[in-house]
Amino acid sequence: MDRRTVLKGLAGAGGLALTSGLAAPALAQGAAARTLRFVPQANLANFDPIWGTQYVVRNAAALVWDTLYGIDAQLQPQRQMVESEEVTDDGTTWTFKLRPGLKFHDGEPVLSKDVVASLSRWAARDPMGLMIKALQQELTAVDDRTFKWVLKQPFPKMLYALAKNNSPCSFIMPERIAQTDPFKQITDYVGSGPMKFAKSEWVPGAKSVFEKFADYVPRQEKASWLAGGKQILVDRVEWVVMPDPATAAAALQNGEVDWWENPIADLVPVLKKNKNISVDIGDPLGNIGSFRMNHLFPPFNDVRARRAVLMALSQEDYMRAIVGDDNALWKPLPGFFTPDTPLYSELGGEILKGKRDFDAAKKLLAESGYAGQPVTCLVAQDQPITKAQGDVTADLLKRLGMNVDFVATDWGTVGSRRAQKTPPGQGGWNMFHTWHAGADCINPAPYTAVRANGDKAWFGWPNSPGVEKEVTAWFDAKNLDEEKAAVGRLNKAALEDVVYAPTGFFLSYTAWRKNVAGITKGPLPFFWGVSKSA
């Protein structure tokens, strides 16, 4: 008899006396094996994938709601809920037909009217959806399984827009739910996907439970990211939120959880030593580190000041601050697009390559007219990645002779303050740090951060007609070669004007118990095809 048994026995005896025999039924071994316990990257604080765009919401929503198309591992859109589509020769009228037998979690069939309502709500919030909406003549249900989208002009990236995995995805909901104002949160979570959301068990900030939807009809093809047959091989998936990485690591080692989405680099060596745990790169598309300079105010309203910083920055310094000494986790990135994807380009990337030239950078900075005014650098201390980058930047600017006003605060404040267009001394800012999911940087469509359309651009409000011209060229491209050419020119223009400063490409690990099988690499955790043995 071991110590734990003794403790259990003693406490159990005491407990019997106190609680009149409220002993817990032991969880059967089989039932435990049918429940996959997963530690997500963040807390699932809300559950409307159109209203809120956090990745964690998107990841959970991908279990509960299906999409018309899904992006596969080759980054190609594939049919998902759709059986077939037709587009007229002039590219303006798309007619889609749904697969037969699709059902919502309340047992109702998925009909065209549901799709029309869902796409309308999505299009009001999604950047690509907004582009389609601007071209839209009508979006109507033809019959129960057929719907039609008529545009004023062709939109060649239609299928990609419906398949893409960046938030918000065009998830299909029942019409009654999808009719909710896109700026108000839904409260009914009836889905069309392979798992049902157990709302009664939801403890926001702590636990979310998903149950297998028995009536889901998967496609016959092999699953590939968001495409193909989404076969659920467990009965339940429990998301257990753990704010403390050390606790998550201990829980995984102890077998209290089965899969940890993103272990921090510091704890990976401990996990790798455990014979019961597998560790591998989670998302091959990784992340792109970034700091943005405010193009509206001195010193960074002058391109020479922005280029001076680019000439001096060491991506290795940034990456080591983020991932430590594990060289498998990072690579230099002399550009803006995700490495090892079809459109990746290094055109114009010389400024980020080779030995860092502080003397030339200081000279260029002086030419820009910089005279020692404070540079307000916003850093979110509660996010390790931004904090690490902020520390490196502060050092870099000081070495360049700049007067750094280092504002260390929380992400809520940075998120709010970076939207201020006032001068830095009046509540505004000069620079802030963040990072972008590599999956959102594979082409210009979901890549808000690389856009440079002035007032309409992302925070920092870069204005570069050269970049915008190539974004349009990419949207109009008729084949991959034309796309590559446009993105190469875009990359060069974005580096010349320094839309933002890429600090490198980094990956992160995912870790799971060895009795779990079927985990695949991808931009989000895919639960289809994942099984667990006792």
Binding site: D2, R3, R4, L7, K8, A11, G12, G14, G15, L16, L18, T19, L22, A23, A24, A45, N46, W51, G52, T53, Q54, R125, P127, N166, S167, F183, Q185, T187, V203, P204, G205, A206, K207, V240, V241, M242, P243, D244, A246, T247, A248, A250, A251, Q253, N254, E256, T409, D410, W411, G412, T413, G415, S416, R417, A419, T434, T448, A449, K456, W458
Partner: protein
């Protein structure tokens, strides 16, 4: 006594109103905007503004405050900006784990700290006394998260006696409930045990020098009777006071403990709500905590009259 309790409860209302106004004002002027957090990185300023409008955050301060007070007076703590769930339901979900953690910690403290303090006073100046006080200094000096990690490493990872994280409600069984609370309660209780043990020792030392203790000894009363019947009862007022004040320590410590042991309690809810600027949740929790403090103070005053009959209100 009843009229005193009623008067005290009525007197708490203006205190809570001032706390409410303070908290509401503080959140209003604090930087950060929940609409920005909700809208995400891709959102345009127009999207953010529409979300602000839909949440009513664009209304003037006094209207927002008035609306909030009106709802509070009707027993409605509002709805979370993020989860769209009633704040009362969210607090209800989280109250059980926090109350459980605090109860086990309090019991552990009383069971361990008071006897330690009594023994230290009894053996004042001896090796036992010095050992107990050294333990108290040690317990007082170690941060909760350090103790938490150490306990988790030893008892959960190495020995595999106890789970490292989580919470099981009491309705699922006593042992499943308790096994999740043992390590967090020890981690959280260390500081508290040290504090109560020191106060108990000091109070007991003072009482043990009183004439009536000498009289009791002269009458031939046994050591146990002297310590636990005569002395401890008369030393109880400062001990009860420090236990009551310690509730504040427990609430503060629970935030860290709940994070280290992944307990879904009010502490974690508070931190999450603050980081996200979920105003209604923050306001609801602060009101609850204010109420708890007032209640604890009242309870302490009532206990005074029980342990010391000379005290009358």
């Amino acid at each position: 006594m009843l009229s005193y309790i009623l008067r005290r409860i009525v007197a708490t209302l203006p205190v809570m109103a001032i706390v409410a106004l303070f908290v509401f004002s503080l959140l209003y002027i604090a930087p950060g905007d929940p609409a920005v957090v909700i809208a995400g990185d891709q959102a345009s300023p127009e999207d953010v503004e529409r979300i602000r409008q839909s949440l009513g955050l664009d209304r003037p301060f006094l209207i927002q405050f008035g609306d909030w007070v009106w709802r509070i007076l009707h027993g409605d703590l509002g709805t979370s900006i993020f989860t769209n769930l009633p704040v009362s339901a969210m607090i209800g979900q989280r109250l059980g784990p926090t109350l459980s953690l605090m109860t086990v910690t309090l019991l552990l403290t009383i069971v361990v700290a008071v006897p330690l303090g009594v023994v230290a006073a009894w053996k004042a100046g001896s090796l036992i006394d010095r050992a107990i006080m050294a333990f108290a200094v040690f317990g007082f000096s170690l941060p909760v998260f350090v103790v938490g990690y150490m306990l988790a490493y030893i008892f959960a990872l190495e020995l595999e006696w106890l789970p490292v994280q989580g919470y099981t409600p009491l309705s699922d069984g006593f042992w499943p409930w308790l096994e999740n609370l043992i390590l967090p309660a020890i981690a959280l209780g260390c500081v508290y045990i040290a504090l109560v043990a020191r106060i108990t020792r000091a109070a007991m030392l003072e009482v043990l020098q009183q004439d009536y203790i000498r009289t009791a000894r002269a009458k031939g009363l046994g050591q146990g009777g002297i310590l636990f019947i005569h002395a401890l009862k008369n030393a109880a007022v400062p001990i009860v006071t420090v236990i009551g004040i310690g509730i504040a320590l427990l609430i503060g410590g629970a935030v860290v403990t709940e994070s280290v042991f992944a307990i879904p309690g009010l502490g974690r809810l508070t931190v999450d709500a603050i980081l996200r600027r979920d105003y209604p949740v923050i306001q609801g929790i602060v009101l609850l905590f204010s109420f708890v403090y007032v209640l604890v103070n009242l309870l302490i005053d009532v206990i005074y009259t029980l342990v010391d009959p000379r005290i009358r209100y």
